[in-house]
């Protein structure tokens, strides 16, 4: 009986197990294997070069600048998106009228594909917003994608426009699950609004904060779609993210082995970041 059930459960698990293994797990090992070769992606032989690719990565200025951009983009997003989403959620939860209308307005951009978001902001910065200067009589530089110094700000604008509403929803759900007795008790004790926010809201929101911080960081580290239709990694290399750099190296530059080494570093970093954040933030949750 036990054996028969084991077999039947096995039949249920195996299809998913196999598809998952072929589609994701094996590619991960392939990436590691290729990263030790100088394969060009075309020829049959894949010459083994040991850790040469990884050593080259350290000396590669393009690779370093791609990481530097990715890190700046990630930190910017994590800070802006978390704070804005939390403040928006608190504002929407404070008893204002037509809450659902606001919720929809903030949420809709995240339904749009990142490729489209990139293009929309490309046009916003280059064609639509400069027109405001004429109307307002000001001289603000809206061409954020035009210069290496402002391209990060432009991409942060586009990305935050897309995602703030999404994380706001998570915070909103978190806020609505905080028992209101806590606030009443604090009020009776004479705690002001700001004190209540930092002593009740923030600690009680710890699980939501974990979700948002991990989600935003890992999502930003993987940025690619947004760049394809907006900056194409430019101007120069100012907005080349690590995935974008891997793509150009491997597909356009025909350096599959070297590109794989880049992929491996990203997988490793993402894994590490997720693990450290979940662990670190979970600890705070327990203390709270």
């Amino acid at each position: 009986m036990e054996k028969k059930m084991f077999r039947q459960y096995l039949v249920l698990v195996l299809p998913g197990f196999i598809i998952f293994t072929i589609g994701l797990i094996i590619p991960m090992f392939m990436a590691v294997r290729y990263s030790f070769t100088s394969w060009d992606g075309m020829t049959a032989e894949k010459p083994f070069v040991g850790i040469q690719n990884y050593l080259n990565l350290f000396k590669d200025a393009d690779f370093r600048s791609a990481w530097w951009f990715t890190i700046k983009f990630t930190i910017g997003n994590t800070i802006i998106q978390n704070i804005a989403a939390l403040l928006f959620a608190v504002a929407l939860d404070s008893g204002i009228k037509a809450q659902k209308l606001y919720r929809t307005a903030f949420f809709i951009p995240c339904l749009i594909s990142a490729v489209i978001v990139g293009f929309v902001w490309l046009k916003m910065f280059s064609n639509v917003l400069p027109e405001l200067n004429g109307i307002l009589g000001t001289d603000i530089n809206f061409m954020l994608f035009g210069s290496g110094n402002t391209v990060l700000a432009g991409l942060l604008t586009a990305n935050n426009w897309q995602w703030i509403g999404y994380w706001m929803l998570i915070y909103l759900a978190g806020l609505q699950s905080i028992p209101s007795d806590l606030y009443e008790a604090a009020k009776v004790d004479g705690a002001g609004a700001i004190k209540r926010f930092f002593n009740i809201t923030i600690p009680m929101l710890a699980p939501s904060i974990t979700i948002c911080v991990v989600g935003i960081t890992t999502g930003s580290l993987k940025v690619y779609d947004l760049l394809v239709s907006s900056t194409k990694g430019g101007p120069g290399r100012a907005s080349t993210s690590i995935i974008y750099q891997t793509y150009t190296t491997a597909i356009n530059g025909r350096q599959y082995g070297y590109g794989s080494a880049m992929s491996v570093t990203l997988v490793f970093v993402l894994f590490l970041v997720a693990l450290v954040q979940v662990k670190g933030l979970k600890k705070k949750e327990v203390q709270a």
Partner: protein, 290 residues
Amino acid sequence: MSGKKKNKKDNDIVAQPYTKTTFLTQIVMSVFALLFVAPLFIIINYSFKTKKELYLSSPLSLPQSLNFDNYIKAFQKLNMGTTFVNTLLYTAVSVVILAVLCGTTAWAIARGKQKFFKFCYIYFIIGILIPYQALFLPIYIIGFNLHLTNTQFGIIFMYVATGVSFGVFLMNSFMSTVPLELEESARIDGCSVFRTYFSIVLPLLKPAMATLIIMQAFQIWNDYLLASLYVSKKQLKTLTVAIQSLFSAQVSDYTTAMAAIVISVLPIAILFICLQKYFIKGMTVGAVKG
């Protein structure tokens, strides 16, 4: 979150007095909301403008008349007849397969007592932490070697493979809502494992299924990376990929591109408006994926 608690909280909101601060908050949030919707209005506005209006009138002025030329042009340029059906087909089939697979897998993992099933749980969880975006290169190579690239089967296979770990995780977290007694009595009545799942467990998992389906449908519909890697044949292309080529081709005359954006966003926006409740629940639960 129990329904009771939520109701109570709703009542509290109603009972909250509408003070000066609330009024100020309302105004500030209205400004932000307008800023957020402004780009959407600009897209729609542009999509009705003629090429002449694009160069002569201000970008912020309204079009003189509602002309649908851009839409017709976008329809042709995107090869909508094909790309729309392709995207719909890939999304629908992948999502159905994911719903069936993730449900059965998660249930078997939750109920199987052998060590193998415990291992499977960890195996799938690790998958959530592996970003397929970072592995696009070997994903392309394995697809090429197995003759999966440029086939409908191949792209659907990849959508399932990259979505399954999250789906299993999501369904697994809902398994505790299925009472064991029901399953046991079904088994005593002689139901096989399969029948128990489909007649007892599956109906109870409906809300979780709705969440899973919405989450994945939305993601697959908007996917660019996998579709651009796996499909290069014209008759297999997806909407997002077609839109991206349109963007590169129509840099100056972007009124067509704007119409194309409206066309591609509309289905998902309508879906959102109809299923808002499930959607929001799905997004909140599914947040872990990021």
